[in-house]
């Protein structure tokens, strides 16, 4: 009993409408309420401070993380159940219809002669109908158009079902990480060397199974300074074999089921060697993001490892031409120790400066390139779903199913009636036109 009610609920049109409405409301909420994926933690801290009551409601209802909230996931599960079960019911219904014999009232109908049949067929052929041979008999002819149209709804919903399944897959098992790879450096493909991670709920540790070496990074600009090209020349090292690949935005590389994408992020790596009086050498590399504008410097502040120094860096890659290219690099460095400025001045690569009792050697500048590593087992399901859903929409709206039955009553009148899945008024107009054409043929039929 309860199962029947659940089944009824899942395929009820009202359920469909309500589910669509709830997803709509969720999307609108996700748009208007700031989401944790878009804003910084400090934004939410401030919000909590300023309006604690509203913040508490938002937090309790998980409105600041709508698309990963428990209620949204429950909604998705409900959609899957509803879609899946209604798909099953629809398939069952169509298969049943296909095997059902068309019945007719033989008392009212005369037989259609072979001669008439040919003429009727000619008219229907003009309207792109084909004969349904198995439904034909001596008293009636059945013509069909776009038989596939019956399956349109099923095909579309199946595609949608697969897309949602793939989205769940992504949410659960996707592994995604960002790496700042320096020219001439190697990424070992391991989880702990990813700078930023965004893994699915049930995804294990990321392990690419290969190493990636950045041999060169190229960048190019339009006249106004907008980026024209970002390209990383990488070498994939796997099982002692090396394969060279070029990576560009919109042109990812796939290795072992792991896709590598060129990110929009790149910048400069400034390398230093700090020589202590004890002759100990500390080597450090600092990555600076490139500036938004080529007339502006790249800026960064960082601690120098194993020391008390704080470095404030203002870096220009090309002091002469003010471009993004590493042509005439120069660094304006402010070094602080315990809050006091211990060095403030310019330094170019290959030069050394004295900071208190230490020697700082600016060993060089290279590019770093942002690479995104993604392992996504659900992607192929998504693509199949996309293709099926699109095919379904095309079938629904461009190939609507129609069926026309032609019979002759006891007064020798040709009668036609039809059914269609879509556009009933237009179908009625078509039916009237076919009737007219059959009537024009009628004189010939009756001869």
């Amino acid at each position: 009993m309860i199962f029947d009610k659940i089944k009824q609920f899942l395929i009820s049109p009202k359920t469909t409408i309500v589910l669509i409405l709830i997803v709509l409301i969720a999307c609108v909420t996700g748009f208007f309420v700031p989401q944790i994926t878009d804003k910084s933690p400090s934004f939410f801290e401030l919000w909590k401070e300023r309006s604690p009551y509203i913040f508490r409601i938002v937090d309790r209802l998980q409105l600041d993380r709508v698309y990963t909230s428990c209620w949204f996931l429950c909604l998705v599960v409900l959609i899957i159940a509803s879609l899946g079960y209604s798909l099953y019911i629809q398939v069952k219904r169509i298969v049943k219809q296909g095997t059902k014999n068309r019945t007719q009232n033989s008392e009212l109908r005369d037989q259609i002669t072979d001669n008439d049949r040919d003429r009727i067929r000619t008219v229907f052929k003009k309207w792109r109908y084909h004969e349904h041979i198995s439904a034909n008999n001596k008293q009636q002819l059945v013509f069909l158009r776009n038989s596939i149209g019956k399956w349109g709804g099923i095909i579309f919903h199946l595609g949608l079902f697969l897309i949602i399944i793939s989205a769940i897959f992504v949410l659960c098992f996707q592994k995604r990480g960002f790496v700042q790879l320096i020219e001439g450096d190697l990424f070992d493909g391991k989880e702990n060397n990813l700078l930023v991670k965004n893994h699915g709920v049930f995804a294990g540790e990321f392990s690419a199974g290969f190493k990636t070496f950045l041999s060169a990074f190229r960048h190019n600009y339009w006249e106004g300074g907008d980026v024209k090209l970002l390209e990383s020349e990488i070498i994939i090292v796997k099982d002692k074999k090396e394969v060279k690949k070029n990576l560009r935005i919109n042109n990812p590389v796939s290795v072992n089921g792991v896709n590598i994408y060129q990110s929009n992020d790149y910048g400069y790596t400034l390398s230093f060697v700090l020589k202590k009086p004890s002759k100990k050498e500390i080597i450090s590399h600092f990555n600076l993001d490139r500036a938004a504008n080529m007339h502006e410097p790249a800026i960064g502040t960082t601690d120098f490892p194993e020391t008390d120094y704080i470095f404030k860096m203002i870096f220009l890659p090309d002091i002469n031409n003010k471009s993004f290219y590493l042509k005439n690099p120069i660094l304006y460095l402010t070094a602080l120790k315990s809050g006091n400025v211990v060095f403030d001045g310019l330094i170019i690569p290959g030069n050394s400066i004295k900071i208190k009792e230490d020697i700082l050697y600016f060993s060089g500048v290279r590019y770093w390139s942002g690479l995104i590593f993604v392992e996504n087992p659900g992607m192929s399901i998504a693509y199949i779903g996309f293709a099926i859903a699109l095919l379904g929409t095309v079938v629904i709206f461009i190939f609507p199913y129609s069926e026309i039955t032609v019979a002759r009553d006891s007064l020798s009148n040709i009668s036609i009636n039809g059914i269609t899945k879509k556009y009933h008024a237009l179908f009625n107009e078509e039916l009237a036109e076919i009737k007219k054409q059959l009537n024009n043929e009628r004189g010939r039929i009756n001869e």
Partner: protein
């Protein structure tokens, strides 16, 4: 220098097209307001004539820019209007009964173009992510979706007008209320297909460019909202037999949401699509 001259001529051609679309708008409005069926022919003629300088203007711009007209408001709005006009003329040629929908379609196109012409006409260069076949499909089908939705809106508005004051020779020559309602449904069907292809192609493009096919970016969210709304419309029509006036009004609501998605959100909110629209 040659480019500047070409750009000037492109602007002139655009304004000539606007002139013809204004005349066309007047003709369509006259035909509906004064119930003069013959004026529809003039409306179609002016629209067709306007399309010629419009095409030349877009062709010149394409040639100078080195990419299709889909960067910044100026190009986006003009090329959308061009696609809608072209679709309207082709459909009107195939289904003459639908020509009267020009009373809605042409003024909206004229409006789109004019708004575009008052924005910065500077040619924008493509960023590396704006390339590839999926981008072309994404943009092309978005424009087709706009066209189908506008024609459907035209049919719905005609339905409401005809239902409101159903008498007169002009209205007798229009398709029956049922057929107008069905045309509106049919074109929404096309719009739904095109919108779906837009979303899907955009997702595949996003996956190629950034390694994810959905990121709840404001435009992505709003395109999903619009798609769901059309889905709601189609389900209400199918299951609850929402036809006639109810369906026409629902379609107008859907249209408003489409306008928000295509023309408002990208222009006011920072998103991945900003560089394309701003």
């Amino acid at each position: 220098m040659a480019d500047i001259l070409s750009l000037k001529s492109e602007v002139i051609f655009h304004w000539i097209a606007v002139g013809f679309y204004i005349m066309s708008t007047v003709a369509f409005a006259y035909s509906v307001s004064f119930k003069k069926h013959n004026a529809l022919k003039h409306g179609v003629f002016f629209t067709l004539t306007g399309l010629i300088p419009h095409s030349i203007a877009l062709g010149i711009r394409w040639n100078i820019a080195g990419h299709g007209p889909y960067m910044a408001k100026y190009e986006v709005l003009s090329s959308n209007a061009w696609m809608v006009i072209l679709m309207f003329l082709l459909i009107g040629w195939n289904i003459p009964k639908i020509r009267s929908a020009g009373v809605v379609v042409v003024p909206l196109c004229f409006l789109m173009m004019t708004i575009g012409l008052f924005t910065n006409p500077e040619i924008r260069k493509l960023s590396p992510s704006l390339s590839g076949i999926w981008l072309v499909i994404h943009i092309l089908f978005n424009k087709l979706a706009v066209g189908a939705i506008l024609i459907s809106l035209g049919a719905s508005v005609l339905y409401l007008i005809k239902k409101g004051r159903a008498r007169g020779e002009f209205f007798d020559k229009l398709p029956s209320l049922e057929v107008l309602d069905e045309y509106s449904y049919k074109f929404i069907g096309f719009g739904f297909i095109f919108w779906s292809i837009t979303v899907v192609a955009g997702s595949i493009w996003a996956n190629q460019a950034w390694g994810r096919y959905w990121g709840w970016d404001p435009i992505e969210t709003w395109s999903l909202i619009t798609w769901l709304l059309y889905g709601l419309y189609l389900h209400l029509r199918y299951f609850f037999k929402w036809q006639g006036s109810k369906s026409a009004w629902m379609l107008i609501v859907c249209f408003v949401f489409s306008v928000i998605t295509i023309f408002i959100i990208p222009f006011i909110i920072e998103s991945l699509h900003s560089q394309y629209f701003m």
